[in-house]
């Protein structure tokens, strides 16, 4: 290339760079610029259950109580609460300072109206199942709400900490505007929302929870996580949510970027379908459990980004994985179990997984496939678009499924849907076990934390041993931030509520 040519090319590049650079306009100093890959799918806090929606709604709406970084129940709209000893009445005192974004105070009438809405079948709130034990609601005064329960329900309190139990203005409910306008009482007001593109949040100066650290949050939806990383590099965003460990692990390599990782409640699991042969055989399921090398999957598919876990993933209830059945790979035992069950030559099965949800699903399936090959099980991987997967999953129409299932702060709320006889998702789990049902019911009634812990430890052990599913590990919730972002506290439920206290330097 001639020198003149080079100069001209450079000049062109400079023009392009100038154009590109010019577009990175400095935003208002105290507005947090944020990016995530998946956007909320709706604004109705009672109906939206997807993580992507909840993360947004938590900044706008508030429930009565909230879970802190250690999953302890802490005040939100309610300043105090009491459980009757028989665990059949739950009383809340509301924060007198609490106000909705429209200026109205939050009263017990709003609480009653909100829960009435959740419990109304016509609303179609999926979270209703968690609050089904509420028989009636009394409002002795503006500040007091009394929930009368049809049966003892200790996990209810923790369940109240979900944004799915957010308190919305009774007037908005009456006007039928929930889901179209977001009037909550949370730290931020939703100023505009362009789904799958951007949202603008403004700090709520009248928030009862204290002063919000930033003037607002400007959220962009960048569907490709590489683009998020690039945007971080180019300082287009201050703060970002990341999903894919392959991308997240690159963050610390970039000067000036910090990666926050927090082990989460949701768990990666290989779901077996115990109603399908030969997974009906306990020995076969156990053999699979023994043949799986959880560390190996974690290291390969997630680059080691996670923690091996049993069924219970919350810190208070978690047991040492090494005490659980076959948590270190034992091929000899696995082969023997297979032989005992009459499947010495193995068998063929299909494992389903969703494309991109989690991003590691396909990789996990491939490692599992390779591991199970060692005991003669021939796995076919069937990747499905997420909704197709969910549809199939809900019908229980699979041999095995690679899944990332959501966790909850309370073991009962987390698992009653699968492992109690009346569980809503019994047909997904396809496994009925008296011991498990028994332990679950005990845990629901027991109010003493120490005893609850014992009950659920037994549950944990038994579940791992009968192996209807093969629990693998929990991953991390990742957020990445520039140096100027300070004070973010991540929580195991992946909540971004900590943004309320973040400041920009």
């Amino acid at each position: 290339m001639k020198p003149g040519m080079t100069r001209r090319l450079l000049a062109c590049a400079a023009v392009v760079a100038g154009l590109v650079g010019a577009s990175v306009a400095p935003a208002a100093a105290a507005t947090l610029k944020m990016a995530w890959a998946q956007d909320a799918t709706g604004l109705d806090p009672h109906k939206q259950t997807a993580f992507s929606s909840i993360r947004l709604l938590e900044l706008v709406y508030e429930p009565l109580v909230r879970l802190n970084g250690d999953l302890k129940v802490v005040p939100a709209l309610a300043t105090e609460w009491t459980f009757a000893p028989d665990a059949k009445t739950l009383t809340f005192k509301l924060d007198p300072k609490a106000k909705f974004h429209n200026g109205q105070p939050v009263t017990s009438a709003d609480v009653k109206a909100s829960f009435t809405r959740i419990l109304d079948q016509a609303t179609g709130a999926a979270a209703r199942a968690n609050y089904a034990s509420i028989a009636s609601i009394d409002t002795p005064d503006d500040r007091t709400v009394v929930f009368n329960l049809s049966q003892p329900d200790v996990p209810l309190l923790t369940a109240m900490g979900s944004v799915n139990a957010a308190i919305v203005p009774a007037s908005e409910i009456a006007a039928g505007k929930i889901g179209t306008a977001a009037i909550g009482s949370g730290p931020f007001k939703l100023e505009s929302w362009e789904p799958n593109s951007r949202e603008v949040l403004k700090a709520n100066s009248e928030w009862a929870g204290g002063k919000v650290g930033v003037d607002g949050i400007d959220i962009k939806v960048l569907p490709d996580e590489n683009a998020i990383l690039a945007a971080l590099r180019a300082k287009q965003v201050d703060f970002a949510l990341l999903n894919d460990p392959l991308v997240a692990t690159l963050v610390p390599r970039v000067a000036g970027l910090t990666l926050n990782r927090k082990p989460v409640l949701s768990y990666h699991v290989l779901q077996l379908n115990p109603s399908r042969k030969p997974m009906t055989e306990l020995a076969v399921r156990q053999a699979i459990s023994c043949a799986i090398d959880r560390k190996d999957i974690l290291d390969t598919a997630l680059l080691g980004e996670g923690e091996i876990t049993g069924p219970l993933t919350m810190p208070q209830y978690r047991s040492d994985p090494n005490t659980l059945f076959c948590y270190s790979r034992d091929l000899a035992k696995a082969r023997k179990l297979m032989a005992d069950a009459g499947y010495a030559d193995g068998f063929s099965a299909t494992v389903i997984a969703a494309t991109g949800e989690p991003p590691t699903a396909a990789a996990e399936a491939q490692v599992i496939q390779s591991q199970l090959k060692d005991i003669g099980i021939k796995l076919d991987i069937k990747l499905m678009e997420l909704n197709v997967y969910v549809d199939t999953w809900l019908k229980g129409d699979f041999d095995m499924a690679v899944a990332l299932n959501g966790g909850r702060a309370d073991p009962y709320s987390m698992y009653n849907r699968y492992w109690t006889k009346a569980g809503n998702l019994q047909k997904v789990a396809n496994y009925i076990d008296d011991t498990l049902d028994d332990l679950m019911q005990k845990g629901r009634v027991e109010t003493d934390p120490a005893k609850r812990k014992e009950i659920f430890a037994a549950f944990d052990r038994h579940l791992a041993e009968v192996s209807p599913w093969i629990w693998l590990y929990t991953g991390y919730a990742y957020t990445a931030q520039q140096q100027n972002v300070q004070g973010f506290v991540p929580t195991p439920d992946g909540s971004l509520f900590g943004l309320a206290k973040v400041t920009l330097k």
């Binding site: 392959l246 690159l250 396909a362 990789a363 491939q366 390779s370 991987i381 499905m384």
Partner: protein
């Protein structure tokens, strides 16, 4: 046939394109026959994400699988998708275009409006919807790509078929009382081979691209099988950690498409009577 081959070999881009395509086909066949350095599915998980070395010429992927072996198998897979989808589309398109041109009137209108409907659908959406309905996989992406290309082939065939229909030798055949099927197969089809061949090679290049695009969206070939597009999309997030995972399949796609394009250009030069006149 021999004359044709000589002319192809005399044509510089035909020579290069032919060599590339032939090499790819040989690689694909060799891989099918098991002549890969390693089992492409074997996961050497302790050797994960290693760069190119003597043991693994193109390095290893995140499962410790040999990239070269997977590339070889992947070429076969991509070619399978490309050839089958284009084959189906060419067949369906030829049938529709030929009959539309020949019978005309209502049938022509019906077929062409239907093709308009398909063409008016954005191609990638058509493929997306199709795959969403049937579920992803090799066979589905073959059908999806075929689905997208059928209207294009229909148009490509209908035009020349219409002008062939008006040619004297077709008139001559009609004066002999030759049957419609005879005229369609011997007079029209035989003369459509040239434009079709050109279109087919170009469509092959396109479908290689489409296959990689579909795989990038997670809708193409399913793991652990490998195709060039899938290898590319799998490695996108590892781009910085393991660039060789992106570079080799990327190059393989580029060269493959280049091969088809060169071959297509050469065939156009050789088979197109217009350019032949220019040469004479």
């Amino acid at each position: 046939m021999n004359r044709f081959l000589t002319r192809l070999l005399d044509h510089s881009s035909g020579r290069i394109g032919g060599v590339i395509v032939l090499a790819y086909i040989l690689i694909a066949l060799a891989a099918q026959a098991g002549l890969t350095p390693y089992d492409p599915l074997q996961q050497f998980r302790i050797e994960r994400l290693q760069g190119p070395s003597l043991a693994h010429w193109m390095g290893t992927d995140m499962f410790g699988r040999d990239v070269l072996s997977r590339l070889m198998i992947g070429i076969g897979q991509s070619f399978l998708v490309a050839f089958s989808s284009v084959g189906i589309a060419a067949l369906a398109g030829t049938l529709l275009g030929l009959t539309a041109a020949w019978f005309g009137h209502l049938w022509d209108g019906l077929v062409m409006r239907l093709m308009d409907v398909l063409l008016a659908f954005p191609a990638i959406l058509l493929a997306l919807l199709f795959i969403a309905v049937v579920g992803p996989g090799t066979f589905t992406s073959i059908l999806a790509i075929a689905f997208v290309y059928t209207p294009i082939f229909t148009r490509v065939v209908r035009g020349p078929a219409l002008s062939l229909k008006a040619r004297d030798f077709v008139d001559a055949a009609r004066t002999f009382g030759s049957s419609t099927s005879y005229i369609l197969s011997r007079h029209l089809m035989l003369n459509l081979v040239a434009p079709l061949t050109v279109q087919v090679t170009l469509a092959l290049a396109w479908s290689l691209l489409t296959e990689s695009g579909l795989s990038f969206l997670g809708l193409g070939t399913q793991p652990p099988a490998s195709s060039l597009g899938l290898m590319l999309s799998d490695s996108v997030n590892l781009m910085e950690m393991a660039p060789w995972l992106l570079v080799f399949p990327g190059l393989a796609i580029m060269i493959g498409i280049l091969g088809f394009n060169l071959l297509g250009d050469a065939l156009r030069d050789i088979l197109d009577p217009r350019s032949r006149r220019a040469l004479a």
